[in-house]
């Protein structure tokens, strides 16, 4: 199963190291292969170093593509993480 969804980064600091680490932790809970598309970049969501090269600041829209049996759950978990601002206050 392949699920695609666009989401916005809404926390103040954007996808900085700690936020990216949270994202990787969530992605790693799922068996699905998860990629992030942004512009011409195509990044493995389970690679913190890859995510750092996105330099996604607040307001950036990124597209997740999950491929695997638990793709739907993975996308839902990621959606929740981004909406919760990666657990950050602002």
């Amino acid at each position: 199963m392949k699920v695609t969804e666009k989401m916005a980064i809404i926390n103040k600091l954007g996808l900085h190291l700690r936020a990216a680490a949270e994202l990787v932790k969530v992605a790693n809970k799922f068996k699905s292969h998860i990629m992030i598309h942004h512009g011409i970049q195509n990044i493995n969501a389970k690679s913190l170093m890859g995510i750092m090269t996105l330099a996604a600041a607040k307001g950036t829209e990124i597209e997740f593509v999950a491929d695997g049996e638990d793709a739907k759950d993975a996308i839902a978990a990621l959606r929740q993480l981004l909406a919760n601002k990666f657990g950050e206050k602002e």
Binding site: L17, R18, A21, K46, L48, M49, G50, M52, T53, A55
Partner: protein, 582 residues
């Protein structure tokens, strides 16, 4: 072997000759090594166990940080663990070891270089800088691959010339003049930390050589000419002979200066100033007498806080300051409270990631925020004061309230010591450093709160002219003779004298012989300089009539540019002094 000569910045005078010792403070040098098939499993195992060790170290740091500063600060180490989860570390490198048959260090550095190139191409400065965390984790892994041993200068057992990319305060702290005879580095300038240490230890040094670490091999015969800023690698026999002669005559000249040690720092027409020493590391205390220092105008306490994970205890600090109080004898010693932050950065004291550390939580700002660091130091100083004439000086003062707050905390320590029945120095004299323009401008207000002021020119110049003194592309702006600097010095001196108090200068400017005629005339009561330049400065003072200095200082304040100021000095000093200074 052919002789090669390289140019750099002459940072500390003198000549050193000896075999090169290539110093790698990171503890690893990375080379590419092809593996035989029977080596592959061993290499994989070595990589995996280093990875495991790295994880354990990060977990330990996380735990420590959590105890000290709470969960929020510790979270960064969790992120560091996730860095190690990256497919790069978990899959790519182990796979490449097997398929490309190369050593782990090389593969790691190669991958990191690619990552760094991407990060550096980012337009967003904030994200660009965050690559530092990845580097930090990777360096730790590299160190563990190398066996985890940190290259330690303390272990040197022979005379060498040190060759390094750069030397941090934590490196110079463990350096001994018995083994290190001089050094040259790729980066750094005349006012960087290493230059100051080199001059105070009397070690010849040539800095800012850009690629010298790539030009010199371990064990090469090297000559460091700190007077001209030259490094000669594998000298021809005649060059070596010539330099041995130069070294001898230079040392003889230095010795002649030392004969001045018993004489006072008095001008020919009877104006007396105090000539004291700046002390960076305790080894220098033994040099005080030989160079004729009249006390210590600046005792830096940072050395106690370096190369360690824990903050030194009150007892440990007390022992160190007591040694100072005993060695300084009847002359006063001015102890500066902790000046960390800026370029002297201690991760365990300052966990705040700052994009402008020199404008950030530094020195007195850090101390006022962290009484758990400030109070033990003040208590240790007060107690050590019972053994000798110690004074306290607060660094990086920018407002009056910082002085007042510091005095309140000092007073709390006094009350506590009294209650505990411990012996301490009552009525200890206190002073403030003038190294921020705002402080110089309100010197008249600050002096009402303290017993003396001391001008720290290195920072005063940096902050007044907004110039990073270690950035080579703007270093030309770093100019003590700039009229703005002279006006701030003059304001400070006048404010102190009007209040009937004394004022000193403990920055590098006071140790530059060229400025002595000017500083004498401006009325500074005390000059505090690196131990090794005391004889030279004294010689200049003893040749420079005070009445002429006053005229030079008055005229200098009317000058429009620093070139005019320097010309004024050159044109007005006595001719025998001109020959020495220019």
């Amino acid at each position: 072997m052919t002789e090669k000569v390289f140019n750099g910045i002459a940072a500390a005078g003198g000549i050193a000759i000896g075999p090169a010792y290539l110093y790698h403070p990171q503890g690893f040098s990375v080379s590419r090594r092809n593996l035989r098939s029977e080596e592959l499993s061993g290499e994989l195992e070595r990589y995996q166990s280093s990875l495991k060790k790295t994880r354990a170290q990060i977990a330990e740091m996380e735990e420590k940080m959590q105890e000290k500063l709470g969960k929020e600060h510790a979270a960064i180490f969790q992120a560091h663990q996730v860095v190690l989860d990256d497919p790069l570390f978990m899959e790519e490198i182990p796979n490449s070891i097997q398929t490309r048959r190369l050593n782990a260090e090389f593969l790691l550095v190669e991958a990191l270089d690619k990552f760094k190139a991407v990060m550096e191409s980012l337009e967003d400065g904030y994200f660009r800088e965050r690559g530092g965390d990845i580097q930090d984790v990777s360096n730790r892994l590299l160190r563990n691959l190398a066996g985890g041993e940190k290259d330690d200068l303390k272990k040197l057992d022979r005379e060498v010339v040190l060759v390094a990319v750069d030397l941090a305060p934590s490196d110079t702290v463990s350096m001994s003049t018995d083994t290190v005879k001089g050094f040259c580095t790729d980066i750094g300038g005349r006012t960087s930390h290493v230059a100051i240490v080199a001059r105070s230890l009397g070690l010849p040094a040539v800095l800012g050589m850009k690629t010298i670490t790539a030009e010199i091999q371990e064990g090469d015969m090297v000559i460091v000419d700190g007077n001209k800023g030259l490094v000669v690698v594998n000298p021809l026999p005649q060059t070596l002979k010539q330099y041995e002669r130069l070294k001898e005559s230079y040392e003889a000249f230095q010795k002649s200066l030392e004969e001045l040690k018993a004489l006072p720092a008095t001008t020919p027409d009877g104006h007396r100033v105090t000539l004291a020493a700046n002390i960076e590391i305790p080894q220098e205390l033994d040099e005080l007498e030989r160079h004729g220092a009249e006390g210590i105008g600046l005792f830096r306490t940072e050395f106690l806080f370096m190369n360690r994970e824990e903050i030194p205890t009150e007892e440990e600090q007390y022992e160190a300051y007591k040694e100072l109080a005993t060695k300084t004898g009847v002359n006063p010693a001015i102890l500066r409270t902790l000046d960390l932050g800026g370029d002297k950065f201690l991760s365990h004291l300052n966990p705040y990631q700052e994009s402008n550390p020199f404008l950030g939580l530094r020195a007195i700002r850090l101390c006022l925020k962290r009484p758990d660091i400030f109070k033990p130091q003040l208590r240790a100083i007060l107690r050590a004061g019972a053994h000798g004439p110690i004074k306290i000086m607060f660094p990086m003062i920018s407002t009056l309230s910082e002085i007042r707050e510091s005095k309140i905390i000092l007073n709390m320590c006094v009350q506590d010591l009294k209650r505990e029945g411990l012996v301490f120095r009552s009525g200890i004299e206190i002073g403030a450093m003038i190294e921020i323009p705002s402080a110089a401008i309100i010197a008249d207000l600050l002096i009402q709160e303290v017993d003396f002021l001391s001008i720290g020119t290195n920072d005063l110049i940096q902050y007044t002219l907004a110039v990073d003194r270690v950035n080579e592309s703007v270093a030309y702006l770093y100019d003590p003779a700039n009229p703005a600097i002279l006006r701030l010095i003059k304001m400070t001196v006048d404010a102190c004298h009007k209040a009937g108090k004394w004022v000193g200068m403990c920055g590098e400017m006071a140790g530059d012989p060229v400025f002595i005629p000017l500083l004498l005339g401006m009325g500074l009561d005390e000059l505090s300089v690196s131990v090794s330049v005391i004889p030279e400065i004294k010689k200049v003072i003893r040749m420079m009539p005070y009445d002429i200095s006053v005229k030079i200082a008055q005229a200098a304040l009317q000058m429009k540019t620093s070139d005019e100021v320097l010309k004024l000095i050159r044109d007005n000093v006595p001719s025998e002094l001109k020959a020495i200074l220019f």
